[in-house]
Every structure is written in C-alpha cells, then in structure tokens.
Symmetry: D2
Subunit: 424 residues, 4 copies
C-alpha cells in the first residue's frame, strides 16, 4: 500500500521573487490560466501557491457543476521562516477599515515560537495562531468572470459612496477593474497577445467571490473542509496568502500575520454537487457561495472581553441597520479601551487585526441599530484587562511608535510580498 | 452570616397582563420613570422585569459616571412555563431581516425539555439553549435621551433608504419616534401631565443603544458580566425580554425563543468607571457602549457547517463592503441549503433565527466585498446535513406549513407578549 | 398537543426529616422495594429522590434485559435552598481517601450565586458547578443482589488490607454488609417480617455497582444520558444524592457539595438492549456496567495546572502499577502545592474534593509506576497559582481552621443529610 | 534583534540506527551521562532526542533546586515520515495492561493526513492527534538514582504480586533493575570502566519518576509547559518517545502511535523553585513530582460515549478501592461494546490505546468499589456507535486480523524503534 507522504506539488523558494519561482504564480482569476500541477482525488499533497488541476482517481477531472471538497490536513510556516508581519496601508495606497482614523502606513513584525506569535512592536501580548490560507478558490468560467467584471464596473461607475451617508470607508477605491499592470498569469507567457487578452479580462484577487478566493476566513484552519463550486474542467484550484493568525474582519487590510507557509491538502469530488447542494441566484444563475466545515483543532479560550458597537457614526449620526458601521464602532470602542492599558491606538488597531478575536453580527433587526460585537480573548495579554475599581494600571512601558512601512503602489491585487526584513 | 438566597425583588404573574402586574412595567426609556425596587451592591436578587435602583452597600446609589457591573448568576424559564415561541412578522407590521423574501407572519412553538428546545412545527431539530435576557440597560439621562431622539428623528426625515442601493431592508420603517400609544411607564400614573410629558420624550425600547438596552446578544448568558454606563442616580437598571435561545442577528425580529423567565443578578459599582474605561465620542460625549464578559457555561459544539455571503445582492448588483447585505446573503444561502433536507424555507428562516448559530463578519476590507459567515452546529439536526456524494436524502417528512400568528400592530416597542397559547 | 411541563412525581419537603417525607425514601437496593411513582416513556418528569417505576408509552413496563435510557434534562438546587456543604469524616466514622493524613471531621459551607459556588470557609475561590446526581440506578434482581452480597462478604472475611503493601486506605472498613440498622425501605412497612427480610438482604447504597447506583460521576450533568441495565420488571429507577459540584474521585467521601435539589428526567426504553449492547461477564453473567453520554453544557476552562503522582508511597516504598496510590500521590502533591498560597491543607483537601478538577489515569503500563494526574482549573482562584520566579505571594489572609462537624455514626449507607445549618 | 528561528540542536537521521546517530542517544538515566548540546534560557530550539544542558542567558547553568520550565512550542512528525505504529507485545516480552486477555503480539500501522491519523488495519476510524513526547525529564542526582534503585530492588525481591488478590497484571515483570544489556549512555564510551559503572547504576527509562521521564501524559502537547525539578548542574534535560496520539493509560504498552518527530522547546529557569513550589517527601526528601500546564490547542470533541468499570474482577471477585482494576474493567467494557460494531477485540484494544480517549478516576471513596471511566469521542468513528433501539448495525466489513509484530526482547528500556516498515 502506498504511504501517504504528502507529495510536494508546488514548491516555493522564499529567496526568490514571486515571479522567479520555478512554477509561476498568478494574481488574477481567469479560466485560461493553465494549471501548474495535477493531483488526484484522495491524494494528500503539499503546496505553497499556484493553480492546481484536480483529477479524480480514474484521471477524470472535476467538471463544472461538481463540488470540490478541499480538506486542509495541515499547514504552517515554512521551516526557517518562523516570522510574519501585519501592516496598515497609507490612505493613498489602499487604506483599511479605519483609514479615516489611522491614515498612515505602519507595521508590526511577529516572531513565532511554535504555535505562539509575539511582536517586539507590541509588547505584552502573545497568542496561539489559528493559521489559515487567506485564499482558496477555483477558477471562474468565462461567464462567471464576465458577471464579476460587469457588476464591479457598474459599482465603479456609480460610486455609491457619494450618496452613502455612512462614510465608514470613504477614502478607499470602491473596486479595481482588470488591467495589465503587475499582472501575473502563471504559465501564460507575458507579452503575447494571449497574455494581453487574459490580463484585460482577468479579475483581481482581492475580494472573495462565488469561487471562494480571498475569503480571509480565520477559521479555515487545520482539519477544516471547503466545499468549492467547480466552474471549469479540472477545477483549477488555487490557494495562497498564508496567515499565521487573523482576527475576524482583518481590519487593517494587510491585516493578518502574513507569512510564507505550506499547506497539506486533500481533494474529493462530489459529482454534480453544485446543483444538489447550492442554489444559484441572480440573473446568470451563477451566484453561489462556498460552504465549509470548521476543523476540530482551534485554540481554546474561555474568557473573553466583548465590545459592542451600534450603527451611530463618530459624528453621532444615526444610520439604518448598518452592520459595517456597527462593527466599525465596536472596533473603535475596543481600541479606545485597550489603549488605556499602555498601548498606542495604532498598536491596538494592528493587534485586533491579527489576534484571534471574533467579530459578530449580534443584532440586525432592532431598528434603527445594527449591533455588532468584537470579542477579545483575555489571556493573550500579560496584564488583566478587565475593568475593575480604581485606576487603570499604568501597564508595561510599551513602544508607542510602530515602524513605518515602505510605500508601494496598491492597485487591487493581492500583495506579492516583497518580504520586509524580519528585523525590526 | 446571612445566606445568599436570592431575594425576589420583582415578581411576575404570567396569568395577568403586563399592565396588571403588581410592580408596573415600562416599555420606554426615560430618566424620570421611577424604580420599582432597590437592591444593594453584592446582593444576589431575583427579577423578572422592571426598573431597579442600585445602591451600594452603604446605601449610596450608583452615580452618573460610574460603571454598573451586572453579573448574570442564573436564569431560566419560570417553573411551569417551559415553552416559548418564535415568530416572523408581517411586512406591514414590522417585518424582519428577510421580509422581502418572507413577507408573511408565521410562528413556531418551542417546548423545553430542561436545557433542550424542540418544536412540533420544525421536526427533526433539538438543541440546548443559550438562555439570556434580550434587554439589559440603565436609564438614560435627559441629555442622552435628547441625543437619541434627535438623531433618530433626523434618520426618519432623511429616510436614507431612498438613496441606498442595498435594498436589504427596504420595506421596514427606519425608526420609531416617541409617542404615547401603548406606552407603559411603570409607576408614572397614566393620564397625568407627567405621564404625557414623559411619554412624548421617552425612547422606544427596540434598539440597543449607549445604555445597553435591547442588545439581543445571545452570549449574555449564565455567568456573564455586563459593564453598563450609569447616567442617572441609582442607575435604574432594567431587564427583560427573556430568550431561551437565539441565533446571532435574531433575524426574524421576533426571532429568539421568547419566553417567561427569571434572572438572578448581582450588581457591583465601579466608581467613576465610565471615565476610566469608556471613551465618550460624538458631539455630546455621551456616545459610549457597554462592555461584557462571556460566562464559562455555554453549550459546546465541535462540528459546524458554515455558509458564506458577499455583498452582491439577489439581483446580482455589487455593493461596497456592506456587511448587512453579506450577512443577508449568508443567511439566504443557508436557508436554501437546509431546505433541501425536507424543510420549507419558512421553517429554516425561523430555525436560524433562534438556534445557537453564529454570525461573523469574516472579512470587511477586501474591496468591494464584505464577507459574512453563518456557522450552524451540525449536531442539532437528527440527520447528517453535510454535503456528500449522491442525492440529498429525502429527510423526514416535515410539516411544511407553519401556523399563522395573529396580526398585531407593531409600533416600535418591545412586544408585550400577549402570550399565544402554547398549544399548536 | 400536550405541553411538556415536567410533572412533579416525587416532591420533597426540606423542612422534614427524610423519613417523614410524603413519598418514603429508601437507602438500600432490593428488588422488592416498591416504586413510589410511575412515569411513561418519553415523559419529562421532575423528581427529588426515591424509586420510580418506568412504563413505556403503551403501559408495557421496562423488562429485564432492556436498557433504560435516562436523559438528565435539567437539574439544580431547590429554590430557596441555594447552599450546600462538603465534609471530611472522622477516621473512626468512615474516613475518606486521605484519612491517614486528615483524620478529623471538618466541613465547609458553600453558598450558591446562580451557577457559582463560594465558601466563607475557603476564601479566594469561586467556581461554576457541574451539578449532577451522585446516585442514579435501577433495582437489582434477587440473583444480582445475591452476587453482590456474596462477593462483598468474601472481601470482608479476607480483609485484603492485611496483606496489601499499599496502606492508602488502611483505616477504613472494607465493605458494609446488609443489616437492619438505619435501614429505609420506602413503602415497605417497618417492623413487619417483610421489612426484616428485605433489610437483611438489601445492599448498601454507597458503592456504584452493575445497576449504576452511587456512581458519583461528576460529568453526569445537564443534557447527559445514562444507559442503565434493567434487572426487574418496571426498572425501578432511583436517583438522589444531588451534588452542586464534585471533583473526580470525590476524595473526602462526603466530598461533593451536597445539597437539596431537583432533577428533570426523561426515560426511553431500548428493548433487549442489555444483550445487544452489554457483555455480561463473571460466573453469573450479570456483571455489566452502565454506559453514558456526556451532555453539551459543561463549564469551559482553558487553563489547567496539573499535578502528577506515581505509585511510590509516602514512605518511599515502590508499588506495582497501583493507580489508587498514584492518584493519592497526585492529590497530596496538589494539596502541598496549593497550601503554599495561604490555605491550610485541610482547606485544599476539601476544595479538591468538590471543585471541578479532573483525575486521570495517564499511564498504567510503564512498570512499576502507575502515573495519575490531577488537573485543576486555574481560573477558580482569585490569585495566579502558577509557579513563577521569586517568592510565592503571601496570598490573601485565609481562615486556616475549618469548623468541625458533628460526629454521626457512619455505617455504609448514603448519608441521609440531617441538614447542618447553612450558617457557618 | 535576533530572529527566533529555532536552532536545531539535536538532529536525527531516520535512516540510521539509533546508535549510529551523530549525537549519541541514551536509554538510561544517570547524572554522569554528559549532555550533547547546550541551550540558553529563553531560546527556542529544535530537538529530536538526547540530553541537553540548559544555561540561563548569562551562561549560568540551571542548578539543583531550581525548577526548569520547558515550554513545548511546537512538535510534529518529521517531514517525509508521516506515519507511525501501535503494537501489543507478547506476554513473554513485556505484555501490556490487558495481557491476560490479549497475550499475542500484533500491530497497527497509522498513516497521517496532516493532523489526522487513519489505519488500514482498523478501518472506519480517523482522528486528530494530540501529539506529545512520551519522555521529558531531567537527569537524577546520584542520591535520587540510588533511591530509585533501592526501592525498585525491594519491589522485585518481595514481588507483591504473589499476595495481591488483583491479578490484573500478573504476568508482567514488576520492575527492571540496572544492567548493561542494550545500554546506551550517550557520549560515554562503551566498554570503558566508566561505561560499566554507569550502566550498572543507571535507571531504566520506562517508568515515569520524580524527574518526569517517561510520563506518557497525552496532554503534554503544543503550548503546554512542564515544571521539572533540577537535580544536577545544567539540568541535563532529555526528551524523546514521540507520540502522534495516545489514549489515557497507553494501555497496550507500546500503545501510543509511535513515530519519528521533532520538538521545538523553550526553557526558563525558576531559581530555587523546587523548594518554593514542591514539597519533598519520603526519607530522602527527594520524592517530588513535576507540575505542568495544559496548552491552548487541543482537539475539541463535544460528544463522548463513556464506559464505567468497578473494582470487581473478571471472575466476580470484589477488590477494595482498586482503581487499576476499575480502569481495567472500564476498558474491557468498552472493548466488548465496540467489538459489536464490526471490529475484532484486538482492533479495539489497540484503538483505545492510541486514540484520544480519556481515563478518569471518577470515584475512589465509595467502599468497596473504585469507579473508573473511559470516555471515547464519538466522532472518530464513521458510524454512529451510540446504543439505540433495534439491532446493532453490522458495520463496515473490517479486517479482523491484525498483522503480527516481530518478537524482540523487551527488557525494561524504552524501545529503540527498529522501525517496522510503514507498509502493511
């Protein structure tokens, strides 16, 4: 019987640039980007990044209409690369959830001690990571791709922010349409007409969509299963954007602890599963979303301090059942609170973006207020952060100033990490 | 030493109407509604409903600027009243989160077997409750009350729905301003000029606000602690709206398992805690939100099936980082999925409103899509609801039609349950 | 449809003596003790104490060879009796697991604040209870009863303690055989020949046996199910000995937090289930043990300090794979350790007997040492009990001396609590 | 700032024999076995096996009387070696906990899919591992070593089994005294007089003792901390015997899933901590036991089926509070039960030895019965193993016969795995 040692189907060389890897990567979605490797159903394989073609055990590829079950058997940092970083982006360069409060680019470096992360930039906290890939998705069909491009184009054209009372996110571009700049298309040879065509059609990798994609769901960790719809023959599974840890929302945008890592995956095919289990909606009947199961191994926390937010903005204006705003308010309340314990607000903003905190939509019907909550595990701090009688303890003397990050041009693609040095 | 048997400070007679109770109830917030009972700091007391004045152990009441720590020591159904109900409201009568999909009024009756609830209206599910009060709050000061009234009036006047592309919630009134209809003001004698004045100023109890209020946070269960800001002398703590169980969001609006119940509470005062721990915002510097700690006793589930939603609406239109819409889409995806297992969509809508499911804001920065998830514990079903190869099993023959509920006029107050019979 | 309000089938009046209750109790096991109430399969009923006859829904009673599934739907203290106690017994009066170290009778009173217990006798600790009945069992058949009496008689005659090197338990009687003293037999009229006969045959209730009985399994709490073998027609289910909380082992003997309480139960019958699921052993083929399922609601602790013990006794003698001794050593190590934080050893002995600590058989094969562990949840203490650099903090000034308990004659029956006053 | 990439201080070459490794291993405890590497306090290092000298950051070694805090930052299988095995040993070759029932040598091979293990020898089960080192310990001082040798010698001489009524373990050698056979002493050169002396004094590695050692505590997994007493200068920490997974008790003796693996550790020193935190007992005042803290990452199971055992043996004889026997009975009850679902008893014996089941001492005071429980997570099976009405389902057709293992001479040392092929 064949032993199950995971086959390394996509290696990575962290010393080389992303575009110099042996197996070329892609940072756009398109059905014509060819796969770089093939795997069979039931096989456990090891991957860092790149699109994969999934066959069943008889060599018959997954077909449109199937569900591709991807089990995350294992994952972690690459040996010798036990570190990562979290950053806020400049307001002119992509920004984040709280850009109107924190307009500057900063970063924190995180070092890993096995399952734990700590940062010299944010002293006094240490937490176990709930490691996961930010991206897991299948290739879209041409029809689905066109749907994406059309609806996002319409959004850019109308730019709803001009009429939206909530100005939560008012300085950020609403969407990025296809273009050729910084485009990476795997094995498609750059400069050819084919490359030009695909680049001008291919969707950006930033948002999660019907194919999964950059979902940034922090619970997609060890032992979990994703049920992905299949839109093209072979499925063309892609994964990447490894996060050592992330809070719900990933609020600073470059907001998880970004790292180099590996994944051990196993695929199964549910023939015809899309029709059987998903209900397409919308005009094209392609509007579906993946399903997943949470795995059995997650850090256990038993004590949580929870912050609320309602849909009243910082200027005191009432908004109607706006969960985005309510969550923004919960996060701001948490930042203000924790900054009393010796941290700068920038430090807390980055911490809440990457530590295992939970963002909940607690109430969405009690007009006019949506109510969101942010739950923070108490034990990640080395001081007791609960309210109590008397003065807030001064807290450990912490570094108030985070290092700046180099400005780069953010443009709608998943950042190809030009790894900042791990030294602070 | 005095034994800690909880003193019953507010009794309820479930056979009488709410307005016939010995200690009169209130369904509005106002600083001039007098308390009906007094408790001292550290005392464990028992309550069903009504405003309370909190003294510290020296008889000095809680003061504005303090934090009132309310510990929920115990809670549950009233003995002999081990049942509750969940309802959807008619679109012309308040509606709910998915009123555009489910415009009719229906209900499900739930019977309790100790910690478990089951419903003859939704066969094949049974789950332990995470019982909690939907309402826990302190009285607002006049200044805070005026702030509420002004901002909600402005919302009603502008009615942002006319310009909001997301039509998630388009058929519901945006807010309810003070009026005298159905107003209950506790000991304030109805018909007096005082009653008139207060009724025309007092805020509705439906939404959660700075004082806590109708937060509908499902994790405020046994052993948890709420840190409430104090705005008036004595705090004037109110609680009510007992829920045997609720899902995050309480999506059908009358959406938890509503029941008659009791609470055993204990209060402590953190002197000056508002200033020490909360950061007021907005023009009046009164815009704060409560904090809470989750208790150690919650039902443990280890297997969850999770549904995603992104901010693209049912017509395929792209919206910008709209978490409300993303959550709506996640809920709709879950309803469609579960209806394949033998349930009507109405049944699933009610089930997801009241079973212990978790609604998360998973991603809020990957423009243009907000990504929300709804996690459902697998073990509450008596069939395996995971996707698998082959046809979806037919499922147990379930009742497809829920009973109608009587129409009542919803008007912005927390419903005073005219208890429907517990028979189906 | 009939509502499920639990029917109170066995009431208790805590102001009366056990033998004065309306429905008489029993403190021995015998097939001829008649039931005091009848319940039907699937019915949720409420009980405090006493034997019950279980019928199925068609009036056909459970039969020998069936399995009786008892679900614990709910349980708790009786309203107005929110207190309990834990005691050590005098070495001449039953003793406990560590009688050779703690020969005197002491007690601690515990007051309940909802799910939490605290004791004026052991300051600085507070914990949520994992409430459960110490006794749940079915009536034995005559054949099984005779088996018990014979094997326990043989033990008394040989008194293995004289040859056992381990002197863990050397001062305690090895077993108590049937006799008439203090015997309570429910409806069997005292003084009659029938009463005499049964009393001289009936087994003591102290140990757990094939019928369940006084299992003292701390995890038999809300939502759990017990699968009990049925030995007599009707099953004659008995339950009692309510514990607000207990540690694994219940080491002080009167070692849980003993209290007055209620149970809400539901019974189902698995016809012929004994043969189908249990494998009788031994000469009479009656040697089986119950099975149970743990419920979904237990206090969650995420941080535990764990103590080890190996099978080397206090005099340094090596014993062979003796798990009893290894557990004794783990408990002694924990007592010594915790006494450094300001407690007397007697206080810790009582605390570890009743707080939710876990006793594990970690290693049972590494000759010659059995290895047992005792895991203690860290958060029950109001000080940090982890080892750290520097001196052990002095700890809060604690009462070192526990109150004495009245001596009573312990004689092999489950103590019929002559409730000590709840005042300290 | 120096990055925390773990330094590999002890490499292993799995293709070579244990005695051919670059850094020589040891399979005995002795203070004069020199360390093979040095680490400093606070450094994260990587190790497979071997004794280590622990320095603090100023180069001052740990001293006798200190506590050495060893944090298990990470651990897992070696890349490319994702498999392990579990075996029962022949009764003439060491046997196990149930040798009187299962006298033959058999084995099961386990393959790992990330965090999951499955075995072609035991179909229908798959579980996440709670990976841990079976051995973690410090070197004994000469005085402690002599204490061990004396007490174990006395046990061998008296051989208490001849008088022990419980014959649970009657065919196994009671202990193994020092000898030179198969002795590995690290850097001590074999054949020298020094080697002879040490070999004749050094203690076997099989049992856990005061120094930790072969504790086989399954919860010593990722994120946990062990507080080890220091008996010699530098502590001379050793670790090894990696287990992918183990049940409480490790009942088959070679009973965990044994594998090649790595550990990432971090050490801290609590100066003088032995005196501060541990209470030596016994004549030499060296009888102490380590303490540990459980880490935050463990597989979460919410449904358990639990088996009980009491201290009545298979022949129906009553024993007195014998937890070893009670646990044996609980295990036998579980084996009988599970064998009804299509497994051979040998398969279940091996499964319960290595899957994450929990062995508890539930009651240790209810004379004459000790009561032990074995809790098995239900979700590791692909069929529902709960009792229910009707016949036990036939179960998947499973292989009834396990492969034999080669006989080797077991002699009291931790087996130096001559790796069986990973093929079945």
């Amino acid at each position: 019987m064949a032993p199950p040692t995971p086959r390394l189907v996509v290696p990575i060389d962290v010393k080389k640039s992303p575009w110099e890897q042996k197996l070329p990567i892609h940072n756009r979605w398109h059905p014509h980007i060819p796969p770089v490797a093939e795997v069979t159903e039931g096989e456990v394989f090891r991957v860092e990044i790149g699109p994969l073609r999934v066959l069943d055990t008889k060599g018959v590829p997954a077909k449109p209409g199937d569900l591709l079950v991807v089990e995350i058997c294992n994952l972690g940092p690459l040996l010798g690369n036990e570190w990562g970083f979290t950053a806020t982006l400049d307001r002119d360069n992509g920004g984040g959830f709280l850009t109107d409060h924190f307009p500057c680019a900063t970063k924190a470096i995180w070092y890993f001690e096995g399952i734990y992360a700590y940062s010299p930039n944010i002293p006094g906290v240490r937490f176990p990571g709930l490691t996961h890939p930010g991206v897991v998705g299948t290739a879209p069909s041409m029809e689905l791709l066109q749907t994406w491009n059309e609806r996002e184009k319409k959004l850019v054209e109308t730019d709803i922010r001009s009429v939206k009372l909530s100005e939560v996110v008012h300085q950020r571009p609403v969407a990025h349409l296809p273009n050729t700049r910084n485009c990476l298309l795997g094995k498609v040879k750059e400069g050819t007409p084919e490359w030009e065509r695909i680049a001008n059609e291919a969707a950006r990798t930033i948002p999660g969509r019907e194919n999964g994609g950059n979902c940034d769901i922090k619970n997609l960790s060890t032992g979990s299963k994703v049920y992905l719809p299949v839109f093209v023959e072979g499925a063309n599974l892609s994964t990447g954007d490894m996060h050592f840890s992330q809070g719900d929302g990933e609020i600073t945008f470059c907001g998880a602890i970004e790292m180099s890592g590996f994944l051990e995956l196993k695929c199964e095919i549910i023939r015809g599963g899309m029709k059987e289990y998903l209900t397409p909606m919308g005009p094209t009947h392609l509007h579906v979303n993946p399903i997943f199961e949470i795995g059995p191994v997650e850090p256990r926390f038993s004590e949580w301090l929870v912050f609320e937010g309602i849909s009243v903005d910082e200027e005191g204006r009432q908004h109607f059942l706006d969960a985005t705003l309510a969550f923004k308010r919960a996060v701001l309340n948490a930042i203000d609170y924790l900054s009393k314990f010796g941290y700068s607000k920038e430090q807390v903003y980055i911490l809440l973006s990457c530590c295992p905190c939970e963002g909940r939509i607690s109430g969405i019907v009690d007009t006019p207020n949506a109510l969101a909550t942010l739950a923070i595990p108490i034990s990640i701090f080395d001081q007791d952060i609960r309210p109590k009688s008397g003065k807030v303890p001064a807290g450990p003397q912490v570094l108030k100033r985070l290092p700046d990050v180099l400005k780069s041009t953010y443009d709608g693609d998943l950042p190809i990490t030009q790894n900042p040095t791990k030294d602070i």
